[in-house]
Every structure is written in structure tokens, then in C-alpha cells.
Symmetry: C2
Subunit: 341 residues, 2 copies
């Protein structure tokens, strides 16, 4: 199946998007670039593409980064983003990759592809490296700011399937992000969600503190989109600040400078480990189809990796597995209704 | 005024607590060590304390780290923690320093000293370094998991006073932690709080994203205790993981190893900047008195710095300034009631 790439979405679109797409196509992944035809053709002409599995699909409109997601998706029916989702709906493509307006990608996913049976809120998932050389998936990190317990329970189920079939984890351990590990901790939302997850089919390990997330003991960390987004960005900001302070300290003496030069490789390796680009974007889980949302400032390499990631999703049939797992846990919705009266 | 130090609270109590107290007393800060007399005397006898302003106050009970805060404070009337607060209430001491059960410290503060007029929830405040070589105060980071908008508005007012009189900032900039900076972002709690803060007397700068916290543009970041605690611990865990990964990378080649050795000083300096111990604990704001809560695993140096911090609080009359600022903004409570119907 082809991957529909939103050629117009992202801070450096379409140049960087097309560069990444060409790189992925060179490794055999079929691509359909969606966007303003002239622009796409112009940028594509800079590459050697003879024989590569790349086609172009014209779309006359573009959704801006600051546009209101729902309005943009409803009004701009011929936007590159929306046309990507139409292609998946019509089985002309197997997945969408976009580095554009992430809210609009979520809105288009819900509007065009619809949600999976029983899911009220799709979630955006990111992966972070752990000290055990593995990865931990965290969701939701941005879509849903005011969540109900059943939404978080669905995030847990979707995260479980993702960890099993895409990350390749056997019986993944799922935990709920909280301000402490004891039962008495948490807020109203986590306490009610905790009750639901204890009754689920998942390998649920209870609460996890923020400090434990990177230790590699847990595979999937579940939280609402407000907390997830704040924690994630807080973490990103802290890493940036740390690296800046450390480098500054290393410029302050000749010895430290020399030390930095010698240890540069270690820094580079470390940076690579944390680098967004390596992981290729954040899957949008819970819609009836596949969509990988890339960072607005994605490099060509990040786009290439996002395309590879989308291709893996197609191959392992994530959507079908999601449906099975949701079906297995459908009683949670009834329990949840009883909780809230 | 003396500082009442909870000699029995903390992972390494009483040895480390007494060590830190002796260090502070050597610099002229008068201390009353509260705890089981025999134990305190035994540990104190290891130091040269002749002429130092240190006294002991016997308290027969100890609050454990895992005890339920409210129950422990109510039942253990002769616990070292509670007696510390009694001393402040009876004007025998000017402030409490404790590295024990932080929930119990908050409960004792509310029960014994009471809250400031109009304040429903006291807040725990921490300071983090910024890339501009300054500090940012973040509150609440642990006390209050389910907050109302008026609670957050009070945190902002208390943070403002703290920044002005303890951190020495002129006209501190206050922001509300959110998942984006645009007005349309945030959850229900932040949106209602945003409306309150716009009407306050504060220098309110609107929403701040997690990523911007460490850039040094904002002096006080306000959030509820659940989000604050999760983000803070997420950040701490990430820093630990980063340093571990970076050091590991630096052990992988001879060149990198040598580089690490040369740059060691820069690492140490950086660690010092982030070190809890340097900042001496987290003030509990909103009670009618002064209390500094230290990390359970505090070193003697951390305790010494917490005592210095408590002393600064006494000198600059923070409590009186809090009352003034709360009075100035008392209409916010009326607006808040109107919001919620």
C-alpha cells in the first residue's frame, strides 16, 4: 500500500517533506505526495526519481499551522491534509504522514476515517528512550485536554496494542501517570481510571510517578492530553536547557573545552538517542486508519522515518488488533457509566 | 527568631538533620532541634557545639514517611513535626524546617497555624534554574490534586509575593502552565483561572508551555498540584536518565573517557546548579507562618540551606506581604463564584 504524504504540511514544507519522501521511496516504500502540483513537481525535479515509486496527487488548498483545526478541515475540502485522509478512506493509500497542523490531522482523522468502534477520543502517542536502552510509549500527549476515565482506559488499550504489534513487546506493562505510586495518590480522574484498568484485560501495573517513566520498567504510560503535553514539553525544555548549560560550562576552561572536543561523539550519540527524527513522528491511535503526525520542524530524515513507521503499522495490521482488544474490554464502558452515576 | 527543625523527619534523620543544623548554627542562625531528646543529644554530642545557638526540645513521637498525613498529625500530638508547628504558634520559633512526611507538614501547618485569610489551599513551591542564570518558581508541586480556579489564583498571588520578597524580583512575571500559549488552549481549569488572573493586580503574562519554563522569561509558573508534581518528577527523572546515558556513552571509547575526565568540572558545576541541596527545600505558602519542606533524602547541606531559606523568610516578613496582596485581590473570589454558577 502507498503512504499518502502531506507535502504542504510542516515548517519547511514542501522542500524537506519531499526530500524525506524521496529517501523513503529509494528504500522501496511507495509514496503519493499530496499538494499543490506545480510546487511539488518543482521540488521533486531536484531529485533523481526515475524508477522510484512516487506519484503526485494535486490538492489546491493548504491548512496553516495556526488555523482552527475543525474549521480548517471542514472548509478546506481540497486541502493536502484532507485529501491524504480521503485517499486512505478510498483505499488508494494505506496511511497518512503529516508534519502540518496536528490538531487538524486529528480532526480530519475523526471526520474522514471516523473513530474505531467504542472509542470517543483518539490519542497522540510518543516514544521516549529509557535507560535500559528500550523505549517507553506515552499517550495522550496533546489531543484531549479534559478527559473522562473511559477515555484514559481506551488510551491504555490502544497503547497496549501499539506496544505489542509495533514496538514488539510481549505482554506490555501499562501504568497510569500519577503524583505517587500508592493507591491513595492521584486525582479524581486517575482514581476512577485506576478502577477501570484493574478490571481490564491488560497487564496493568498501577500508578507510575513521573520520575520512574525513563527507568524502562513500564512499556506504556497513560495520561490525559493536558498532563501528557505539559510533561512532555516540560521535559523537552529541560533537556534543551541542560544541554545548553552543560555546553556553556564546557566552554569555560581550556581543559573542559578539550574534554568536550574528545567527548563530542558521546554527545552526538546521546543527541541521536533523544532525537525526534530517529523515531519518526507520533502515531494517532483510535481512528479507523493509520496516521503518523510528525513534528512541525521535522527534518527530511524525520519524514523518512515517519514513512517507515507508517509502513510498519500497515504491515502489522494494527487497526484490526485494536478492534479485537477494544471488543474484549467493552464492559469497561458500562463500569465507567456506573462510576459517574 | 529561632528556627524549629524537625530532627526526626527525613530518610537520614536524625544524624544528617543535626549535622545540617549545626552547620547553620555555626553561621549564627539560632536553632531549636525538636525530637526524642536522648537520640538528639547523642547525635549532637558528636559535634563541637559549645557557644552555638542550639537548644533541644523533647517530643516523644515521630511521624513516619508513609503515614496518612491528617491522621498522623491529629493523633500524634507530641510528634516532632507537630511540636515544631506548636513552637511557631506560641512564638517560641519563627519558622519550621522539616524533611519528613511532606503531606503531614502541610496538614500540621493548616491545623496548627491555620491558613491565611481567604486562602483555601496552601501550596508547595520549588525553584529551578533557567538558562539565563536565574531561577523560576513553580507552584503547586504536590499538595493539591483537584484544584478550583480560585486556588490557582491564590497560588499566583503567593508566588508573586515570594518572587518579590524572597527571590528579589522587581514586578515578577506570572504565567499559567498550559498545553499551548494561545487563548484557545488549556483545559477547563486553566481557562477559568486565566479569566481570574487577567483581573488580578499581578503582572500576568498568560499561558506558558512546558518548553518555555526554563528560558528565564517568566518568574513564577502556576499549576495545580497534580500537574506540577507530575511535570517536576518527569523532569527529574529525565535529567537522571540523561546524565546516566551521557556518562555511559562517555565510557565507550578511550577518547570519550579522557574527554569526560577533562570535562568533569563542567559536569560537577552543572550538577550543582540542578542540585536540590543548593536551594534548600520548598516553601509551603499560604499558611499563617513559615515552613520549609525539604526533600526526604536531604543531605546536611540541604538542611543547612533550608534553614538559611527559612531565616530569609522571617527577615523579609513574607506573611504580612501575603496578607496585603491577598486583600488587594479579594474580589477574585467573587468573580470565581460567579464563574461556577
Amino acid at each position: 500500500m502507498k503512504i499518502a504524504v502531506d507535502a504542504m504540511g510542516g515548517d519547511y514544507a514542501p522542500a524537506v517533506i519531499i526530500d524525506g519522501s524521496v529517501q523513503a521511496a529509494k528504500e522501496g516504500v511507495p509514496i503519493v505526495l499530496v499538494g499543490i502540483k506545480d510546487e511539488v513537481e518543482y521540488h521533486l525535479s531536484k531529485f533523481q526519481t526515475r524508477g522510484l515509486p512516487i506519484t503526485i496527487r494535486h490538492a489546491s488548498e493548504v491548512v496553516g499551522m495556526e488555523e482552527s483545526p475543525v474549521t480548517a478541515v471542514r472548509k478546506k475540502k481540497d486541502s493536502s491534509l484532507r485529501v491524504c485522509f480521503d485517499l486512505v478512506k478510498n483505499h488508494e493509500a494505506g496511511a497518512v504522514v503529516s508534519a502540518g497542523n496536528s490538531g487538524a490531522a486529528m480532526a480530519a482523522g475523526m471526520l474522514v476515517l471516523k473513530r474505531l468502534e467504542g472509542v470517543e477520543r483518539p490519542a497522540i502517542t510518543v516514544c521516549w528512550p529509557t535507560i535500559k536502552d528500550g523505549m517507553v510509549a506515552i499517550l495522550d500527549v496533546g489531543g484531549n485536554v479534559d478527559c473522562k476515565p473511559i477515555h484514559l482506559a481506551h488510551f491504555a488499550i490502544m497503547g497496549d496494542v501499539y506496544a505489542k504489534y509495533v514496538m514488539g513487546k510481549d505482554n506490555p506493562k501499562i501504568a497510569l501517570l500519577s503524583n505517587g505510586e500508592e493507591e491513595g495518590k492521584g486525582n479524581e480522574l486517575t482514581r476512577l481510571t485506576h478502577e477501570l484498568l484493574k478490571r481490564s484485560s491488560l497487564n496493568y501495573a498501577g500508578y507510575i510517578e513521573g520520575k520512574e517513566v525513563f527507568k524502562g520498567e513500564i512499556d506504556v504510560v497513560v495520561t490525559d492530553g493536558f498532563v501528557g503535553n505539559v510533561a512532555l514539553k516540560f521535559g523537552e525544555g529541560l533537556v534543551e536547557a541542560m544541554v545548553a548549560m552543560l555546553k556553556k560550562n564546557m566552554q569555560e576552561s581550556l581543559m573542559a573545552k578539550l574534554g568536550y572536543l574528545l567527548a563530542r561523539g558521546a554527545f552526538a550519540k546521546f543527541k541521536k538517542k533523544l532525537d525526534y527524527a530517529e523515531y519518526g513522528g507520533a502515531p494517532l491511535l483510535g481512528i479507523d486508519g493509520i496516521c503518523i503526525i510528525s513534528h512541525g520542524s521535522s527534518s527530511a530524515k524525520a519524514i523518512k522515518n515517519a514513512i517507515f513507521r507508517a509502513n510498519e503499522f500497515i504491515k502489522c495490521g494494527v487497526t484490526a488488533h485494536m478492534n479485537e482488544e477494544l471488543e474484549k474490554n467493552k464492559d469497561l464502558a458500562i463500569v465507567s457509566e456506573r462510576q459517574t452515576g
